[in-house]
Amino acid sequence: MRLSLALGATLTSLFVGAALLSFIWTPYGITGVNIAARLHSPDMSNLLGTDHFGRDLLSMIMVGARTSIAVALIAVGLGMGLGVPLGLTAAARAGGWLDEIVMRGNDLIFAFPSLVIAILITAVFGPGAVNAIIAIGIFNIPVFARLTRGGALSLWQRDFILAARVAGKSAARISVEHILPNLANLLIVQGTIQFSLGILAEAGLSYVGLGAQPPIPSWGRMLADAQTMVAIAPHVAVIPGMAIVLMVLGLNLLGDGLRDALDPRLRGRKP
């Protein structure tokens, strides 16, 4: 049993499970405020305590997980959905003008730090979960495009692809039927890593007020709201902070574990 894979899978499923559970049940509602019960330390009735509006932090974390996961997942899906076809196209036309356009376009996006693009997009189009998704999605495109093109280029040199070409298959069909399945491992691993970066980016955006807007809970904003209260009620800041750390750690371990498990070149080696 690989430890990192197990630990990563446990942490990730814990948060995903909490997010799914929050659709049907949370210990308390998260839209009502109860000022009299604010800033309570963790105890039996509020397992993680309450925030500055008296809302139950466990419930907030559960629903916040939903926000984080939804934003990151859709954003990675967006990046993958656009990036992979672009990468496949570029590889199929390697050296051609299409390849040049796609890859230089990618370089252009790559040239900007990802979070700066995200802030630019949300600042221009207004803050909100949808714009955060678009912002994070856009900087995922070149990651997947580049990875796909790199992987596909080496596959194009292989004999089985030559056989498919001799059989008269078009470049598009070869890309979809032969190249893509052989890149799946690579993409799953990268997808997991990008997912964790997406969680971090979402937290960053909502920390500066450009992510999901209140009253939708999000970990980054919980952290931002709590920062002036660290001295009087540390748990309000520590808990969303820990949630972000554990979620990102879990996804990174999962990504590492998956790579070890899926990559044939590493198979059979002791971790």
Partner: protein
Amino acid sequence: MKRRTPTATLARAFGVTLALATAAHAQQTDLTIALQLEPPHLDPTSAAAGAIDSVLYANVFEGLTRFAPDGSVIPALATNWEISADGLTYTFHLHPGVTFHDGTTMDAEDVKFSLDRARADDSVNAQKALFADIADVTVTDAQTVTITLAQPNGAFLFNLAWGDAVIVAPESIDNIKTAPIGTGPFRFDNWRQGDQITLTEYPGYWGDKPALTSATFKFISDPTAAFAAMMAQDIDAFAGFPAPENLPQFEADPRFQVLVGSTEGETILAMNNKQPPFDDPKVREAVAHAINRQDVIDGAMFGLGTPIGTHFAPHNPDYVDLTAQSAYDPELSLRLLSDAGLPDGFTTTLKLPPPSYARRGGEIIAAQLREVGIQTEITNLEWAQWLEEVFRGHDFGLTIVSHTEPMDINIYARPDYYFQYDNPAFQDLMTTLNTTTDAAARSDLLRQAQTMIADDYVNGYLFQLAYPTVADARLRGLWLNQPTQATDLTGVSWAE
């Protein structure tokens, strides 16, 4: 080899530090004071931004009259004045020997220039209404100015005390936004934009010399950074401390003193009176009854603030307590919404500027409104966006803001003001008030005005903003209250 124990070394080091510190404190005449907002420029006579007055009022610029720390109007550049029996002619006698910081003398010509500039047709003064009644400004001699009013104005001396009515010189007016030249005890020294403004004493000041010889205003907008800077004593004081939740820690620390004063800041949940469904007074009344003020004060301000039921400062003698009229009553609120034809509630926008009273208060109010079926879409805006969209663009349903100008109930007489309350009866009341000079009659009119806007439920009246100042325990003479936006350093000194 002789070994020195670590303790001895430490003790020695501390001894030296202490000695130095004591020496420095004994003659300390400089002050570093922080504010949350940085002024956009330095001309108090051409912008609404209170941050300009927070730095310059009474320190760099002075008017004919000024506000004392308790809010009363006292003489400043004018030593005394006579008012004609009909209340139309004011004769001001200027203090002799007053000079501007560039060395030129301040005389009646400068007063005429300043007032004519403020009331001119092309004037960009943010409070032109203060000067609206002036018919003519005449220079009698170098030390005497006669102002003729078109109609009696009971608040004229009060109006002249505002930061928007300070005396400026024609010689230095072109560069006033970056190099302000006034008559105050401090002259402008340097502005590092985004960081600090420094003032130094003006040796030629006409009045009593302040105890301080230099002052640095630092601008720290982030509440966490404000807390850290104060705790580390990088700053000597923070006027308008932005994080009320941290005040108990400063109170418990003997190094600091905490002053919690009142302001002229009526914090309101403003409703767009022209936008449906807020054009229906029943809906506005429903909103008012859906709000639990004490929860907003406790949750957003950690208990700092006095509940208000109308747009008037509770410390004013003419204040009428109307909080009961809009008491928290969600049942009544639901009934009113039904009567208004909205039994299922409605959805509106809630646009919030950056201060924590708005951001935190907004989340609490959104939750309270949800209880009666009113859904709000919250948008957090920066000040520039807020001024553009809400204040000028009138594109909002609800917003939360604190009106910090003194005696500003007359904004309800302006139908184009951002919440767009248009009631001819109220406008007449304000016209009458302006022409009334009798104190008892004015009180009565002010009470009527407060009741009228409360009866019409123009806005949701939340609380009077408190003004917390955190300062080094040895500082004396800081203003407790904010009768106008100012950080008057003329009376500030270090104890010991």
